[in-house]
Symmetry: C2
């Protein structure tokens, strides 16, 4: 039974509510990596943490903040969900290397080096040019490695991603994207990137955001699970997990803000278009956290073994958490 | 007499004091563009403006804040110095396009799109790669053009500079640098850049910072003035002014901060070196504002006409101020 296996969703950005926390429990989801900053700078990110502290206080029967891999095991034992914080942009660290350690202490465990546009650290996938990791970016990678903050290149451009994999002394991740070979969206990742990522011990999270899916909102569960099977054949099932990119219950104003932040007076439609500017509808087989066990069932139907399914649904992320969230041990 | 001509120094970052304001008056300096941010973000920049407000209050017999070209004329009439604010990095606008207009209202008149490193807008001259103006950078240039904030590319890389000249609808500037052909420092500018800048109506300010000078602290006044004459022959004397980069009375901790900001745990020596990490000594013919008339004398000795000298010493910058600081007129 998929319900009995460990389940981790390594990327969600829902319009959080008790209903959603309840659905996490019903879906048997032991851990969720939640985005707490897209464009927010440090102080605004702290305000978002304050909001999460109120959620943890009010809904302690359902959720608590996760800091280590062991918190996943605790969540599973207790039938709750451990919530891990992450940032889709380095905006929370502003221009200040020292904020990485502070953000890690506050629970930040994943940070994208860029989000669509050029950042101080790396290039985003919508820029015309990709010069790779910047001078500041090299310093930030070393500091993230040191303190135990995972480098996420989901929205970064190709060369920057390959360089981050190369420069980082610890495995990195792409938390939410799909193979470009399956669906050639700009945000999906090339074979070269996926190969380098997984060869270096990194993790790749499959996304269920319709713009990343072949046939979009009409993508079938079989097509999605077969894409995972094809990737597993190339990169190994142990390098794959789920990062659904579920944006449940968000109004369309939120996707407009994600794309436009405060950087433009014009309208950037990102993966959408003027005629379809909003959030696309989810496939009917993945609408909320209760549908995560559906994926396990689909993986079984495309021929994965139970051990492989357990890995993809959660054990692979847990192994990655165990090796990624602690500071590097000092020599001696 | 050079003393009777209008004098504008379009870049200083001194350790401000009544002594220096007095020296501005003694030198007959009617306007100085002062750096009020290297790495400061918006709120810190506002604190620096508060400090300047205290200077304006305490030393109103010597200085006042300049907003328009006419404030230079007023300063000259009254024997005072008009102080214009500028930023050597886009850090004061953070990630927020709307802050450009706010900063202009507060008196910001010049903003560099990058300072040595990659910024959100453009590339700095110390990066290994220069991808040119970013998506956000194009938006920022349009907004700076709209509100009347001048684009300064003094510390930017070659391609980014050429693209900024091309993209900007109004003339831009390099406030403080010298021709690379005269002294091949990384910060000095190529013929291609100087040609494109001045062909587009932009202004080039000659620097007296020793790392930008041939023979450094031992550079002679004749050599400096001949470099101006050589540039005038190529680009026209009306495109040239002075941007001394005078960092008078600053402790060496300040140049360390300029170079390292908060972006590295290592030590970046910039134009210096481990054996010479501090501010280099000024040439003995240019140590403070009282020496600006010396330059006019030197220009005369290398053959400039009085009209050309008046232009280089101040009238060229004043003409540029007049056409640059007002918002673009709306059509109709």
């Amino acid at each position: 039974m998929a319900h009995d296996a460990l389940i981790i969703d390594n990327l969600q950005y829902a319009n959080w509510s008790p209903k959603i926390f309840q659905q996490m429990q019903e879906g048997g989801v032991s851990a969720v990596h939640v985005t707490i900053a897209y464009h927010e700078q440090f102080r605004e990110t702290v305000s978002n943490i304050e909001q999460w502290n109120r959620y943890f206080e009010a809904h302690s029967d359902l959720i608590f903040q996760g800091f280590t891999g062991d918190d996943v095991r605790r969540a599973r034992r207790e039938g709750r969900t451990a919530i891990y914080f992450g940032f889709q942009n380095p905006s929370p660290m502003e221009d200040d290397l020292g904020l990485i350690e502070v953000l890690h202490r506050l629970g930040g465990r994943f940070m994208q080096l860029s989000y669509n546009n050029q950042s101080l650290l790396a290039t985003g996938c919508y820029e015309a040019e990709d010069p790779g990791i910047t001078r500041f970016g090299r310093e930030a990678i070393a500091e993230m490695n040191r303190v135990g903050m995972v480098i996420d290149m989901s929205h970064s451009a190709e060369r920057s991603t390959l360089e981050a994999i190369e420069i980082s002394s610890r495995p990195i991740t792409i938390t939410h994207a799909n193979p470009h070979e399956w669906h050639p969206a700009l945000r999906n990742k090339s074979h070269e990137v996926l190969n380098a990522l997984t060869q270096a011990g990194g993790m790749f999270g499959f996304s269920l955001y319709p713009h990343h899916l072949k046939d979009g909102s009409h993508c079938t569960r079989e097509s999605f699970c077969q894409a995972i099977a094809d990737a597993a054949a190339k990169y190994g099932a142990r390098s794959i997990g789920i990062g659904s990119d579920l944006c449940q219950d968000q109004p369309d104003s939120v996707v407009t803000w994600m794309r436009n932040g405060k950087w433009t007076r014009n309208m950037d439609f990102g993966e959408g278009s003027a005629s379809a500017p909003g959030f696309p509808p989810q496939p009917n087989w993945f609408e909320d956290n209760r549908d995560l066990p559906n994926i396990a069932e689909g993986l079984s139907q495309v021929g994965f073994s139970q051990a492989e399914i357990d890995g993809i649904m959660g054990e692979n992320w847990l192994r990655f958490y165990d090796m990624s969230f602690e500071p590097t041990q000092s020599a001696g």
